[in-house]
Structure formats: C-alpha cells, structure tokens
C-alpha cells in the first residue's frame, strides 16, 4: 500500500470522465458492495464469495484499462467519483462510505495491476473493521498499512487525533532553570577541543563479516517465534516479581497464550507453560499463599471449554501429526480434572476412532484424580455423551465408579444401561448380584445381556442367584422365552448343585402350575444339556424314555434347540 499525495492523485486520471466512466464507476461500487456483503455472509473460499470478488476485479481492470486508476473520494455517507455520487447510504456500519470515512480515509484508489488477492484482502479488512471497538488495537487504516497492498492507495487523516491538544516547544523546559548557570559552567569545563577522529573509518566501518552477521540477525529476528521467549519473561515475572494486584492480569495473559499455543498445535509450549505454573503454585505455598487461589482459578479456566474449544480445530491435525498425540496428552494431563467437562462433549465431534480412544483414556486419567467432573457428565441430559463416558469408569479405582455404573445400569436409556452393564461386568463380575434384578428388565436387550453375563462361565455364586430366582419363582415376567433363557444361563454357569432342582422341573413338574409347566420342563432339559455332566446326561436319557409325553416333548424340543444352536455356532 502506498500513500500518495493529493497532487499526484489529481494529476493522473479523469481529466475528462465521460458518462460511461461514471456509469462504470457506479456499477463497480455496486459490485464491490455485493462482494463485501457476500464476504460477511459466506466463508472466503465459498463459491459465492469467490465469484463476487472475481466480478469486482474484472470490472476494476476493465475500468482501469479505459480510464486509468480508479479513485473515489469518501464522504460521511457517500462515495464520489469526480464530484458525482456513485454510492450513497445512511451513515452507519453497513455503509462502505461510512466505514472508510469513520477511520479517516479521504480517498481511495485502485491502481493499474490490482489483483484478486488484494481486493479480497481489502474486503476481509472492511468486514473485520466494520464495527469499531472503543480502545481497540487497530482500525482499517492501521490494518491497510500493515497489509501494504501494492495497488491500493489511500489518504487518511488523523480523525481521532484532532481532539488532542498538541504540545509545542515553548511548553517544554529542556533543563531546570535553577541549574542552567551551573550547567553552562560545567559544560565549559568539561567540553573538550575536538580531536578529529581520523581513524573514524577504520574504527566504525562495518567489516564484511559484521555486515553478514547483521543481515543474519535481522533475518533471524524476522523469522523468530517469540512465544517461548515471551513465556520465559512472563514466567520470570510470575515467579519473582508479580504483586497481588497484577497477578490476575498476568494470569489472564498466560491463559490467552496457552489457548493460542493449543490452537497453533504448539503443544510443547503449552506443556512448558502449565508445568511452570504448577511449579510456581508449589513454590507459592511457602511464601505467597495469597497467590494460590488465583493460580487454582487459572487452572480451572485453562481446563474450561472457553479455552479448550480450540482443540476442535486440532483433532483433524492429530490424524496427520501422530507424534503430537502424546504431547497433547501430556498437556491435558496437567490440567484440572474439570477439563473432562470440556473434553467429554468435544469427544462426540471426533470422528477418528483412534483420537476418540485417546480422549477416553485421557478422561479416565483425569477422572482418576477426581471423579466428580465425570460424574457431572454422567448426569448430562445428552444421552450420547453419557453413553460415551460410561466405559471410562471401567478402570477407575474405588467404589464410586461401581456405584455409578450400578446407577447407570438403571438409566432410562436402554443403550446406556447396556453399556453400563458391559462396563460393570468387565470391571467386577461380583457385582452381578447387584444387577441381578435387571434379569426382569423390560428390555429384551438388557435381559439378554444379564443372562449372557450369567452364563459366561461356571460360577457357584451366580448359579445360586439363578437357582434361587427359578426355584423360588421370583421371576416377574410370564414369558416362556425368558424362562428358557434363564434355564440356559443356569446350565452355563451351574454345577451338580442345580441337578436336584432340574430333575424336579423336568421329571416331576408337579410343583409347577399353569401353562408354563412345559416351558419349565423344556428349560430344565436345556439346562441339563448345558451342564455337560454325566448325571445330567442320565437324567436326560431318562426323560427321553419317560412315560409322560410332556417330558419326552420337553426333551425333544431341548435337543432341537440345542442342535439349532450348535448348527448356528458351527455355521
């Protein structure tokens, strides 16, 4: 971007603008405004945005080819081309004229050779600085200066400086008048006759090596990433210099730097930063106890969604930069367990199974230090989130995870119950007793799952539960399929201890009333088959030869069921 003088601008073009030039100028601004709106509505790489900026550039080049550089004057609510209005609107932030005028731009010029990236950059800045913020860190003019677009030219006034009272020389005292006389005397005494530095050139001329080194110094500085340097300084200040009044401000800055480091995937910086703040917190215990609550608050903030949400942009990068996974894990482990509240919901957005797994492990580690935040997530109304978090409880130490799983095993969501049961069983099969009542759950899935866990291996304790359930007729469902499944589970987990009950159920059946008698017989036959004991086999043989058709039928159905199962298994 170059600022040129008014004289030059006036002398270069438009000595004789025709009506056509005016029309073109007006159309051009109209296209520019459309592009500006599209840039505000759509991302830059969106087709609509791209097309609209291309339109502007095409028209600009057409104009410049015919009439030279396109320059317009800026007034509060309008743009003028050779004193004729080419755009007018109300003086507010939706009006391009107002945005330019507000920041002091008096005229603007697109020059020959203007290219699409320059126009796109200008549109970006216009939208960025559409609204002004009091005590901001820049405006359209400062941004244009920094962007230095080679073919965009403007003149800006010091709009916001005009109110300032300018000091002038006569208001400044160069020295204390009381000392002036003394100063003159001293100056007379100390001033020396000039010995011309004949050796000047030899002494002060830069050697080729020095010139080279200087160039390198500048180059290195231009490419220097100051972040670590900056953090070193801030940490020195935090460690040794900061006072109570300033700590909050400094920590806010550190927090912003931490967030930036995460967003730039500079996890080693983030790790270093958190490690140092942890160290500082430790050191504060002895001599600056007042700092501890603020440092704790820092970690709480650093672990919050407002900071960690930048990771949403980072997940895809991790797929490419695999080596960063470990670093990120190290960073996040330095956070407060409350980070779980931010990371948990974000994990739902992660598509990569590997990253999901990493996050679950991480959440587990954080919850291992304090399970309370994870508990809050497990009570979250978002069922998907709860379900995602349940498996984390598997490896956590203590009774609380089991209590939570038991609670979740009664969750209104079938999926959550199922996941909770799986997790619970994977964690501790002794807890089956606690969840045994779910054998009567309304959900087929849950019932099946319970029975599946029951029948997973031979277990005297579990056998006792099922035996008691069947023998004492504790089942609350009148569902033959359920009954058969319970018997099958008993056969899978049971032992010879169950044989007397099964004999009674199969051969006598007298104790069973009602229509489910046949189901009990069949179930008992199935259970006996599953027991795989000689005594059980003898009973089955006996059943096959029974005089009672009901017993023989039960035996036959059990055989058929078993064959089907076997067949299905073989297939």
């Amino acid at each position: 971007m170059t600022e040129i003088s008014m004289e030059k601008g006036l002398s270069t073009a438009y000595n004789d603008p025709t009506d056509e030039a005016f029309q073109l100028a007006r159309d051009l601004i109209a296209f520019f405004i459309i592009a500006m709106k599209n840039y505000a509505l759509y991302p830059e790489d969106n087709e609509v945005s791209q097309q609209s900026v291309e339109n502007v550039v095409t028209r600009l080049n057409e104009f410049i080819k015919k009439y030279g550089d396109f320059r317009f004057d800026v007034k509060r609510d309008r743009l003028l081309f050779r004193d004729q209005i080419i755009h007018q609107g109300t003086p507010h932030v939706g009006n391009i004229a107002f945005i330019l005028f507000r920041d002091g731009i008096q005229w603007f010029e697109f020059q020959k050779g203007v290219e699409l990236p320059e126009v796109a950059g200008f549109l970006r800045l216009l939208n960025q600085f559409r609204e002004t913020v009091e005590e901001s860190d820049g405006d359209l003019v400062t941004a244009l200066w920094e962007a230095q677009f080679p073919h965009l030219c403007y003149e800006a006034t010091d709009v916001f400086l005009d109110d300032e009272t300018l000091v002038d020389f006569f208001l400044l005292r160069v020295t204390d008048e009381d000392h002036r006389g003394r100063a003159q005397e001293a100056d007379q005494e100390t001033s020396q006759a000039i010995a011309y530095p004949d050796t000047y050139t030899a002494t002060w001329e830069l050697t080729p090596e020095e010139i080279n080194k200087l160039g390198q110094m500048v180059l290195e500085d231009e490419n220097l990433d100051n972040i670590e340097e900056n953090l070193d300084v801030i940490m020195v200040i935090l460690r040794e210099h900061v006072e109570e009044d300033d700590l909050e401000d400094v920590l806010k800055f550190v927090l912003a730097e931490f967030r930036d480091a995460l967003s730039r995937v500079e996890f080693q910086v983030g790790r270093k930063l958190l490690e140092e703040v942890h160290e500082i917190r430790e050191s504060c215990k002895t001599n600056r106890a007042w700092a501890i609550p603020m440092l704790d608050h820092f970690f709480k903030e650093a672990s919050g969604y407002q900071v960690l949400n930048v990771l949403q942009e980072v997940w895809p990068v991790l797929e490419i930069l695999g080596s960063h996974r470990l670093l990120l894990r190290q960073v996040l482990l330095l956070l407060s367990p409350e980070a779980v509240l931010a990371i948990g919901p974000m994990s739902l957005e992660v598509s990569s199974p590997r990253t999901q797994r990493d996050l679950m492990e991480l959440i587990g580690s954080l919850a291992g230090r304090d399970i309370a935040p994870l508990e809050r997530l497990l009570n979250h109304p978002n069922k998907n989130l709860v379900q995602r978090m349940v498996p984390v409880l598997k490896d956590l130490e203590g009774d609380r995870p089991s209590e939570l799983l038991l609670m979740l095993a009664r969750n209104s969501s079938e999926q959550i119950r199922k996941t909770a049961l799986d997790t619970l069983m994977a964690r501790d099969r002794q807890l089956l007793q606690e969840i045994f009542p779910l054998i009567d759950d309304d959900s087929d899935h849950i019932r099946r799952l319970i029975l599946q866990h029951i029948g997973e291996d031979r277990n005297e304790f579990v056998e006792g539960l099922v035996l008691d359930y069947l023998e004492q007729r504790k089942f609350q469902r009148h569902d033959n399929q359920h009954l058969l499944a319970c018997y099958r589970a008993l056969g899978s987990c049971g032992s010879a201890r169950s044989i007397p009950f099964l004999r009674r159920s199969l051969l006598n059946g007298g104790w069973i009333l009602g229509f489910s008698k046949s189901a009990h017989r069949q179930g008992a036959a199935i259970a006996l088959m599953a027991l795989e004991l000689d005594e059980a086999q003898n009973l089955l043989d006996k059943a096959s030869r029974s005089l009672f058709p009901g017993v023989r039928i039960a035996y036959r159905k059990a055989m058929e069921s078993s064959s089907k199962k076997m067949g299905a298994h073989i297939l």
Binding site: S5, S11, T12, V133, E135, S136, D137, G138, T142, W145, Q148, D158, F160, E164, T165, L166, V167, F169, L172, R173, V174, T175, D176, E177, R180, R182, A183, Q184, A186, D187, S191, A193, I194, Y196, P197, Y200, E205, L206, E210, I211, K213, L214, M217, V218, E220, D221, E222, N226, E229, N230, I234, I237, E240, H241, D246, D249, F253, A256, E257, D260
Partner: protein, 475 residues
C-alpha cells in the same frame, strides 16, 4: 544499512544528476562534433525526459546546502557523495540556486544543449556568473530551461513533511501519556492511536531520516519519561531502518520504544526527581520498571501475538549485551535484537538529557564516545557501529563551537565520507539571552582559492546547557 545503500542500483534522480555532471565535464574537453560529447548530451536529454513523468518540468534547486529535485530532498548513495558535492560546488560557485528544465528539451537540437552546458561552465570565469548565465539563456533557443531563484523558503512538500513529523511526534507524546494514565487508573486501553502514530513515524522515516533524528533532540525536563519514550522510539526506528528491518517489524519496534518505560509512570515523582542519591529500596523500585512495563503491556487491549512480540524487548532493555544488567535472573539466552536496539537508543537519549541528579547532560558526541566503551559489554558492538554511523561524529542537535567564533547546531547526518563535517545551522544571539536561526552552512565546504575548509569545529557543547531546544531551530 550502509551496505544496502552501496549495493542499491542507481536511482532515477541520481541518474539525472550524473548525466548532467557528465555533460558539464565532457563539454569542457571536447568539440561539439565529438561523439562522446554528443552521446553525453543525448543521455542528459533522455534523463530529463524520463524524469518528467507526472510533470512536464523538473526542478533542481539547492536549499540549505542540499539538492532538492521536484521539491524533494535528493537522496543519494555514499558512492555518489563526490558527484553530489561536486555539483553543489558547481552551482554555488556560480550563485545558481536552481534550474527548471522542461520536457521540451527532447525537441531541442543537440547543439543547443551543448551550448547550455558551455554557458554554465564559462560562467565560472565571469564576475557575476548568475547574471551572465541569465543573460545568455534569454531567448527562444533556451525556452526549455529557466533559472530558479528560491527565497530561502523550504519547498512546500518539505514544509508539509516537517509539519507532519512535528505532529506525529507530539501526538505520540500525548498517546504515550494517555496509555500510561489509563493503565495507572486501571481503565481499559487499546493501542489504535499508538499504532497509527508509529506507522506515521515509519512513513516519515522513509522520507527523511534526518528530520526524524532532529525530532529526537526534543527534551522536556518536567515530563522526561514521555519525551524519552518517544525519543527512544524514534532513535530505535532510525536504527531499525538502517539495519533493514521490514515495515511490520519497524511497527513493532516503534511500539516497543514508546512503551518501554510505561512502568515508570507508577514510580513516584519524589523518587524520579530526587536530586540526592537513591536509597537501595528506591533504586530497587527503579530497577523494577522493566517488569512493571511488561505488566502494563499485559493489560493493554491488543491481540496476544503483538503483546508476545513486544514483551521480551521491553523486559530486556536494561539487561545489557552481556546480561549483567537488570532485571537480574538466571538466563541463558542472549538479549534479543529489539532489546539490543532499545538499549542503545535508551542509553543515548538518557545520557544526553538533563536530569535532576545530573543537570549537565553529556553532549551527543561525547555520549556516543562514552557508549563506545561499552561495546561488547553493555551494547551489541555491531549495532553500536551502525548507530554511530547513523548519527555521525556529531549527531543532529549537537551544539558546536566553530573556529570562526560562531556556534551552530549540527542539523543533518552527513554521509560517511564526511562524518565529522556536518551541515550546521548557525545560531545568532537574539540579544536577550537567547538565540535565533542563522544561515545553514556546510562544514565540508572548502574555500575555492585555498582549498581549505571554511569552518572547523573547535568544541562541542550541549544545547541544554544553554536552554536550547534543538528541534525548535531545526524544524
């Protein structure tokens, strides 16, 4: 940077001056029909035509011992020093203040151009050269050239630039005060104004380094911290430009300069203006100011990236090159580039300013001399060399006593070849214990008969000892 200017290819303005000079030299030794002479005339014509891009005329004039081309000070390289000074002497010895050449020279016969060159040459032997030239150039044959009589007034563009520079300086002063006050009273503060002003300073610097250096001589005994901050920013920017920093790096450097002493605003005036020796506790408070400045930066409403870039230099500006300064802490990394620049600018301005505990400051040349003793210890030796080259042996604003009995202010950094012979603005007593502006003289100027320098420096003094605000005279 010196090398940068040496390696820079010929600039159009320089080409114009060179072809003019070449024409004046070759016409002395050749007949009109000589091919070399005719070629030099054609080159001169071409350079005039090519220089008339936006204007059908090109004006070359002398003001205060410097050439101005199209009302802009002619910027030239060190390698062109002899050429420029040769031409200056050529013009001055003929009383010629300037020439205005028209693009129509392109239509003039070669013979006319050669005649013009011969007139200028022969004028040196006339009793009243200027009148003689004027008389000879009268008539249609020389309609493409006219003599310029300037009124010792600066060209309009130069005046406008000076006004811009003055405004930028004093607005910067106001901006630093504003930021300091707002931070002190815990009010939110952004850096929009500061950024704009630094950008202005960078722009002015790109047009006229000497002008900006003149601004850095401004002193305010009562509000030292603020003028010091702006001066450090200005000196740092000039040094930054010399070493070839990019525009955006310059912007950051300028902000560092303006804010490097923000932390001092929290120090009580009792300490800052204490004439006696400070107690240890008071000294510790002074030494804490880089830390306080950083904490103040942290509170600014600006993006973290900029803060991250300006914090280290501000923290390091008293650290010294060998890390023996303060804040004291275990450190393995060397002082950064910006920190090293700020150190030099900071010390130079501090040494040359009058303070309550040191009413007699060091004159700029002596301050530089003392700083050289710290090369490699307190200061980066290479940067210090560049700084020295930038300011010259007698930095702008140095009060010089001449062997003619006159006193004057060094007003412009000479090129390296004549570092010890600056342009000087003679100061004349106003009869009321003060001074008024006299004429500018070039100490490199020699007597045409004896070949000796017309004026020599006897002593350097500090302007503050005489209550002189150099910028008031130099701007």
């Amino acid at each position: 940077m010196t090398t940068d200017s040496q390696e820079r290819p010929d600039q159009p303005d320089e080409i114009f001056l060179r072809t003019f000079y070449w024409l004046l030299q070759t016409v002395k030794i050749h007949q009109d029909n000589n091919k070399v002479l005719q070629e030099s005339a054609r080159e001169f014509i071409n350079s005039v035509v090519q220089s008339c891009v936006d204007d059908p005329h090109i004006t070359l004039e002398i003001f205060r011992g410097r050439f101005y081309l199209r009302e802009k000070k002619l910027i030239y390289r060190i390698v062109s020093f002899d050429l420029v000074h040769g031409m200056l002497q050529f013009f001055e010895s003929r009383g010629l203040q300037g020439l205005r050449l028209s693009i129509t020279v392109g239509d003039a016969p070669i013979e006319q151009v050669l005649a013009f060159a011969r007139i200028l040459n022969h004028a040196g032997r006339q009793e009243n050269p200027l009148a003689w030239i004027a008389q000879r150039l009268e008539g249609d044959a020389f309609s493409w050239v006219e003599i310029v009589h300037n009124q010792e007034e600066l060209p309009e563009e130069e005046l406008e630039l000076r006004e811009r520079a003055k405004r930028a300086y004093f607005y910067s002063l106001a901006a630093v005060k504003d930021v300091g006050k707002k931070i002190f009273s815990k009010r939110p503060v952004g850096i929009r104004k500061t950024k704009r002003l630094v950008q202005k300073l960078v722009d002015i610097l790109s047009e006229d380094e000497s002008l900006l250096l003149s601004m850095s001589t401004i002193r305010d005994f009562d509000d030292y911290t603020y003028t010091h901050s702006v001066n450090v920013a200005v000196l740092s920017l000039c040094l930054g430009k010399r070493i070839g920093l990019s525009r955006t790096a310059m912007e950051r450097l300028g902000i560092c300069g303006l804010f490097h002493d923000l932390g001092k605003t929290a120090i009580s005036r009792e300490i800052l203006f204490k004439p006696e020796r400070l107690t240890n506790q008071e000294f510790e408070e002074i030494e804490r100011h880089p830390v306080k400045s950083v904490i103040d930066i942290v509170k600014l409403r600006t993006d973290g990236d900029l803060k991250a870039k300006i914090i280290p230099p501000i923290f390091e500006h008293h650290l010294k090159y060998d890390l023996s300064g303060y804040p004291r802490y275990h450190r393995e990394k060397p002082q950064g580039l910006f920190g090293r620049i700020l150190s030099i600018a900071d010390v130079f301005d501090a040494m040359t300013s009058s303070r309550v505990y040191r009413p007699v400051p060091f004159s700029p040349d002596r301050a530089l001399g003392m700083m050289t003793e710290g090369a490699g210890k307190d200061f980066d030796p290479i940067l210090l060399k560049v700084f020295f080259n930038m300011l010259g042996v007698f930095p702008v604003g140095t009060l010089l006593e001449l062997d003619t009995g006159e006193i004057g202010l060094a007003m412009e950094t000479p090129e390296e070849a004549m570092q010890d012979r600056p342009m000087v603005l003679i100061l004349v007593s106003d009869g009321k214990d003060g001074f008024r502006k006299g004429k500018p003289v070039n100490l490199a100027e020699r007597d045409t008969h004896t070949g000796l320098f017309r004026r020599n420096i006897v002593k350097s003094r500090h302007p503050e000892s005489y209550g002189i605000q150099p910028a008031e005279f130099l701007l």
